[in-house]
């Protein structure tokens, strides 16, 4: 039976010392109840309370770290089945499989490509997280390929069934916390020992969810903590989705500790579109790590964008600081565009302004992170608010003109805004895509 926030509060010191990072013991207790934080954050907790809270305080899905301090990725620690209930916490790690059957030149080319996979979207850097080396040849070749990959500062996964080769690879990777993929009922003991010896994490794979649970339990008994659950991606998609959902439910709803680990989905080599679509399904439905083969830039960009969407906090839309942003070498004659402080609105406008190469001021109004139309409907993007922002921004001192360009969708506020602000209102395009030609045609 899960303890409520209040039950937990009764067991805490109630000193509100803030050392846990929360303003009060009650806030900490509520967060513990949601399993969003660990009890160890409280330095003053009594032994008695510790025992009572032990099970409760562990996150239902363990947080697993791959890589070393300089290059690490964390997955797991998820608390909900649907993102609207709270949010998804640790973005699914996305990585690429490098097979040792490729020539050294091909491998180097692939690695060069992988290094380029970082994109800026909505003010955030999105990038891929890890590389998996897959053994299909001799142990020697596997080590040779590992050495090629070492230069690329990303956490690694080792896909192999070869105990000796893995041992050699793990020696080289000491301190870098790689992932071993994957232990089955045959090699479970040997792989657990290796993982423990070298501080690696270990994925377990099996045909059924029952066997997965049993295998994970055995690994845990061996003393290894860092476990991942591999789903069978060669099944019918509905079966794989069912398995992914059931593993998440077991961890969250049944507090099943044997399945309370992040899930890894390895996608076999397919046409790039199919790999992307499969990866998209796993990303939406609970995978903690996805490994794929395609290195098409468009596929990677699409998948990283989907991850950014799904892992956005639904309670906190991405916002920017509401203020005046001069873009390019603005002068006292440069135009002024007004938009909201919703990141997506601002960055979409910014992208188009930059593309136009016309130095322009963008005034971002505090709409609490709402987009233009939503904010307008919610009365957060009103003539009053915009007039206020204009005054506070200090732009009136910087410019010779008083022309303000507003989004086409809120043309209806022109009259009132003109009255309130004293500026002349120019109705801009409805869609940001129309901005470059609009700015170029301004006289």
């Amino acid at each position: 039976m899960a303890l409520s926030g209040l039950d937990i509060y009764k067991l805490l010191p109630k000193t509100n010392c803030r050392q846990c990072g929360f303003p009060t013991c009650l806030a900490f207790a509520l967060s513990l109840a949601k399993k969003a934080v660990v009890l160890a954050k409280c330095p003053f907790v009594s032994e008695q309370a510790k025992a009572a809270l032990e099970a409760q305080s562990q996150p239902p899905i363990k947080l697993i770290t791959l890589g070393d301090d300089a290059n690490k990725v964390e997955v797991g620690n998820e608390t909900v089945l649907f993102r609207h209930e709270e949010k998804f916490h640790h973005p699914c790690a996305i990585g690429f499989i490098i097979e040792d059957s490729l020539s050294n030149q091909e491998i180097t080319q692939r690695l060069e490509k992988i290094k380029q996979f970082h994109f800026e979207r909505v003010g955030q850097l999105i990038k891929t997280d890890l590389i998996a080396i897959k053994q299909t040849q001799t142990g020697e070749r596997f080590i040779e390929v590992l050495k090629l990959v070492l230069g690329i500062n990303q956490p690694l996964a080792l896909i192999s069934n070869d105990k000796t080769a893995l041992g050699d690879a793990l020696k080289i990777l000491a301190g870098k916390k790689p992932l071993i993929y994957a232990a089955d009922s045959e090699n479970l003991n040997a792989f657990s020992i290796l993982a423990k010896e070298y501080g690696a994490s270990l994925a377990v794979k099996a045909d059924s969810i029952d066997s997965l649970s049993e295998l994970a339990a055995k690994v845990k008994e061996s003393g290894l903590q860092d476990i991942l659950i591999a789903v069978n991606t060669n099944n019918k998609p509905s079966r794989t989705l069912g398995e992914l959902t059931q593993i998440r439910r077991q961890a969250l709803k049944k507090n099943n500790r044997n399945l309370g680990y992040p899930v890894i989905a390895v996608i076999e080599k397919l046409d790039s579109y199919q790999e992307l679509i499969k990866a998209g399904d796993y990303l939406a439905k609970y995978a903690g790590i996805i490994l794929l083969n395609t290195l098409e830039e468009w596929a990677v960009l699409s998948l990283l964008t989907l991850r950014q969407n799904i892992y956005t906090d639904p309670q906190k839309p991405l916002q920017i600081e509401p203020k005046l942003y001069p873009i390019g070498n603005t002068t006292e004659n440069s135009p002024v565009l007004v938009t909201t402080n919703f990141s997506l609105s601002y960055y979409t406008v910014l992208g188009e302004v930059e593309a136009s190469k016309v130095p322009t001021n963008i005034l971002s109004v505090d709409t609490e992170g709402m987009s233009v139309l939503t904010a307008w409907a919610a009365e957060k993007f009103t003539p009053d608010k915009i007039s206020d922002s204009l005054k506070k921004s200090g732009i009136e001192e910087k410019l010779k003109h008083r022309n303000l360009i507003i989004p086409g969708y809120v043309a209806v506020m022109s009259g009132e805004l003109e009255e309130k602000s004293g500026w002349k209102i120019v109705v801009g395009p409805k869609e940001a895509a129309g901005i470059p030609s609009f700015l170029k045609n301004l006289t």
Binding site: R83, I209, S238, G242, D281, E296, N309, G351
Partner: protein, 321 residues
């Protein structure tokens, strides 16, 4: 020891909406499309049946589109200049489940085409194709209230899915659809309360819930997709838990949204690190579509033939039990 599986038990199913009418039903279609009817969450067949697979409608405009990127228009070819040929191509070559005709040319700011021309396109497409038809106005309420009732009448008995109604403007179109035996699209602005409210208002005009489809207003990948995704999940959970006024199938205008995204349109010269333009556009539309399938989409309205093919194949795979 076998695990005690966590299975959800739901008390309500999504309503089944039928689009298109056969000859002996008063229409002229040679097949009909049934959508909705889910008894559980998407593709979790162990918990409830999904009697009807998600379907793909291909979007056809009554006038040649002027803001579609070339990677999209060239995939369709010269037929894009003629809505009837275009619709036939969607049925014959691209194996669309339905046609979605958007009367873009009716917009006062576009060509403001006269009503006779618009009703003629509807009739001509119905004559030249055998699959069911979704009909969408130009989005300008006043003009739509004038032309959609005429189009509705011209297609009487064909059991179209016709739209769109919004909270501030639903009566005229609902009345027409009721009179002419069509079903209706209820559009809400990514807002579960408005979605429900509008469904209630439409039902109050004695439109049965088996004749309403929800348009939750989706955003493209990278452009607010997650908002609609979560609204759809919430609405579907409510529906399965018994809320009949949210228990209608979803229609998602994926093509319309995806092809507005910069990532779908920008050239490779402009963004060399984004990869090939054509594939990028197709991927953008396809991934937007398949992600909404995971949130419960029933009808996907799409544009690029290759994206349609990819998503149809994925639906084939997803539906295997």
């Amino acid at each position: 020891m076998a695990l005690d599986l966590v299975k959800e038990k739901w008390s309500n199913a999504v309503a089944v909406v039928t689009i298109g009418a056969l000859k002996d039903e008063g229409g002229t279609r040679s097949s009909v499309v049934r959508c909705g009817g889910e008894e559980g969450l998407p593709f979790l067949f162990a918990e409830g049946k999904t009697p009807h697979r998600p379907v793909i409608a291909m979007e056809v405009l009554d006038v040649e589109p002027d803001d579609w990127p070339q990677s999209l228009t060239s995939a369709i070819g010269p037929a894009i200049k003629n809505p009837v040929e275009w619709a036939v191509k969607c049925e014959k070559d691209y194996k669309a489940d339905l046609i979605c005709l958007r009367l873009a040319g009716a917009h006062p700011d576009a060509q403001n085409r006269p009503a006779e021309q618009l009703t003629k396109v509807v009739k001509d497409i119905l004559q030249a194709t055998t699959i069911p038809l979704i009909l969408i106005g130009c989005g300008e309420d006043k003009r739509d209230n004038e032309i959609l009732p005429l189009c509705s009448q011209a297609a009487k008995g064909e059991r179209l899915l016709i739209g769109e109604t919004v909270q501030a403007n639903y009566k005229t179109l609902t009345a027409s659809a009721l009179a002419d035996g069509h079903s209706i699209i209820a559009q809400s602005p990514i807002d579960i309360n408005i979605a429900k409210q509008l469904n209630i208002l439409i039902s109050d005009m004695s439109m049965s819930i088996e004749r309403i489809v929800i348009n939750p207003t989706v955003g493209a990948l990278g452009y607010g997709l997650e908002y609609a995704y979560s609204i759809m999940e919430r609405a579907r959970l409510a529906a399965l838990s018994g809320d009949k006024m949210l228990g209608m199938p979803f229609i998602c205008f994926v093509g319309y949204e995806a092809w507005r995204a910069k990532e779908a349109k920008a050239s490779e010269t402009e963004f060399p690190t984004w990869g090939k333009q054509l594939e990028r556009g197709i991927a953008w539309e396809a991934l937007t579509a398949t992600t909404f399938l995971q949130a419960g989409a029933d009808i996907l309205v799409m544009r690029h033939p290759k994206a349609v093919e990819l998503v149809r194949k994925h639906i084939d795979e997803l539906m295997k039990e």
